[in-house]
């Protein structure tokens, strides 16, 4: 059994950040120096995190690929993530990965990049932002639109603070109009409404979407209406992933194993399968 593929490798929590009441970030370091030296991931890929005695869960990688540390921003939703939330820095968990196909960074070079995210959807896109910033000159205009249901849901506050001030990023935040908050200096309304005022050169643009499926579908349709090619719109999907190897069958969406062919798909490929109940 191959380590990091079929067998989890021990990874130590070197830092733990509480992002919101239910969202936290674990910064991990592989214990085995040889494995750590060879570990590479692409923005948008995910790892299987393993908590002994509880089980595994697929978590997207939110790290800066240069740092040698592996960041995971996690929402407490299931058995594993709730138990992970209890762990202090210094604890050792297991890690397999990276898995799947991430964002098409090479395809985005020389193009304008529009990143639209919803809620914790921002986590898989964080690594894309880091990749862009690492080689900023290679990309055109970079727009990041992030929508949250409630102001307290905004994770990665420190990073957003940094990006909002960044001269080479156009970052806009929106909170759902049904949950207005007094201390929210940014836009109030659905994240899709931010798109209306957005400047866009459709033929130059590539879009990365991440968040609830309905939101991504609506955003993709808006982009298509404004002339962006469906093949230039990329979505990061979420499905039940247990093996991450395209074997266990749970993540199927039509003919695709989301864990292997995805989680990032282009809209031309995956669009026809979205919004169909129970497919």
């Amino acid at each position: 059994m191959r380590p990091l593929i079929e067998l989890p490798a021990p990874a130590r929590i070197v830092e733990r950040l509480q992002e919101t009441e239910t969202i936290f970030t674990l910064r991990l370091k592989l214990e085995d120096a040889a494995l750590a030296a060879h570990y590479r991931f692409a923005p948008g890929q995910f790892n299987m995190l393993y908590l002994p005695g509880v089980g595994e869960a697929p978590i997207s990688i939110a790290a800066d690929p240069r740092a040698g540390l592996i960041d995971h921003t996690i929402r407490m939703v299931g058995s594993v993530t709730r138990a992970l939330a209890q762990l202090p820095a210094g604890a050792v968990i297991g890690l397999r990965g990276p898995f799947g196909r991430g964002w098409p960074m090479p395809a985005a070079e020389g193009r304008d990049l529009i990143i639209i995210t919803g809620g914790l959807g921002c986590a898989p896109s964080v690594s894309a932002v880091h990749a862009v910033l690492a080689q900023r000159a290679r990309y055109g205009r970079v727009v990041l639109l992030e929508g949250v249901r409630h102001c307290r849901d905004l994770a990665l506050k420190s990073r957003f603070a940094e990006w909002l001030d960044h001269p080479d990023l156009d970052v806009q935040l929106a909170v759902c109009e049904t949950n207005p908050c007094a201390d929210w200096p940014w836009h109030t309304g659905n994240v899709l409404t931010l798109m209306d005022a957005m400047e866009l050169k459709p033929e130059r643009s590539l879009a990365f979407l991440c968040g609830p499926e309905g939101m991504m579908q609506a955003a993709a349709e808006k982009l298509v209406q404004r002339g962006v090619q469906a093949g230039d719109i990329y979505l990061s999907l979420e499905r039940n992933m247990q093996c991450a190897l395209g074997l266990c069958g749970h993540c199927q969406l039509g003919p695709h194993f989301v864990c292997r062919a995805g989680p990032v798909f282009d809209y031309a490929t995956i669009g026809p399968l979205l919004g169909k109940r129970g497919v």
């Binding site: 021990p10 595994e56 039940n240 266990c248 069958g249 749970h250 169909k276």
Partner: protein, 364 residues
Amino acid sequence: MTHALFLPHARLDDLIRQVQSAGYRVIGPKLEAGVIHYAELNVAAELPWGWQAEQTPGRYRLHRSQQTLAFAWAAPAQGLKPWFFAPVEPLWRLRRTPDGFGLEPCLPDAKPIAVLGARACDLAAVARQDRILEHDPHYQARRQDALFIALHCTHPAASCFCTSAGTGPRASRFDLGLTELDTGFVLEVGSPRGGKLIEPLALAGATADQIQAAQTAVAAAAAQQTRRLPAGDLAGRLAACIDHPRWDAVAQRCLACGNCTQACPTCFCHARRETASADGQSAEHSRHWDSCFGELHGHLAGFQVRPQTAQRYRQWLTHKLGNWWAQFGASGCVGCGRCLTWCPAGIDLTEEVAAVLGEAPCGR
């Protein structure tokens, strides 16, 4: 069948001993608890001599027959799947250490098996699982050295449709191939390994009449089958039919019990389970067969991808007959008929797919 030998019934034990002495565990059909299934066997007398199996949707019954043949029945209750893709497979064992934990991978360490009397449908299913689990160390540990003594089928059940699935009744890939006649078997060699194995038996060649009788019997088995899969591009046609009313109709009868998927020799879905020890110091991580009819199959935190039975049945059928092509370059159905025999509600896959595809194409 240019060159064939003849193995009299009385010398089947010689073959079994030969296979055993070559280091294999012999697996063959046995009658246990009212059904014929593949089990470990030591002598030919353990085979289900003189039995026939009636298999129709939702019904399986054994009957004594006038003939004293060993293989006068069709698909065993379960295919060869459990012998290679184990129903429950430990993947690793964990032990906590003062500064973390250690993992010990679990790999099966079993003697290779030789299957005596493997049906064409079951061999086709093994070939399809081979594609899926090509890199799976647990599957390969059991599978890589297995030997197959095929049985070209001469007694299909009413539930069978291997002819239209393109997998039988004649097996196409084997080490040795048998066709049963009244007094013994026409035996073909399908691999150098198979040829070496039977050399010491010094069998006589089969006569032209025997070869002719064997071919006739297998051809008759093909002609007897009444159930069939529709021909053509099922993937494309089914994809166009996801809103067909038949899915809701079949869900009225579907028990969502998953028996079809558990009896299917190609279904590969599996779930993972972590079992902690009572002292908290160790754990075992295993996988076990799962089903697309099950509760956690399409489960995400706070979201069920396929909440309704109709959606689950549709997922199963459209995957098996349709999406499988894109994934593995073949259909997921080998025509063994187990999904209809072992469905307690007697739902017939061939009938459902015919109803969904109907006379006219869906949509547009």
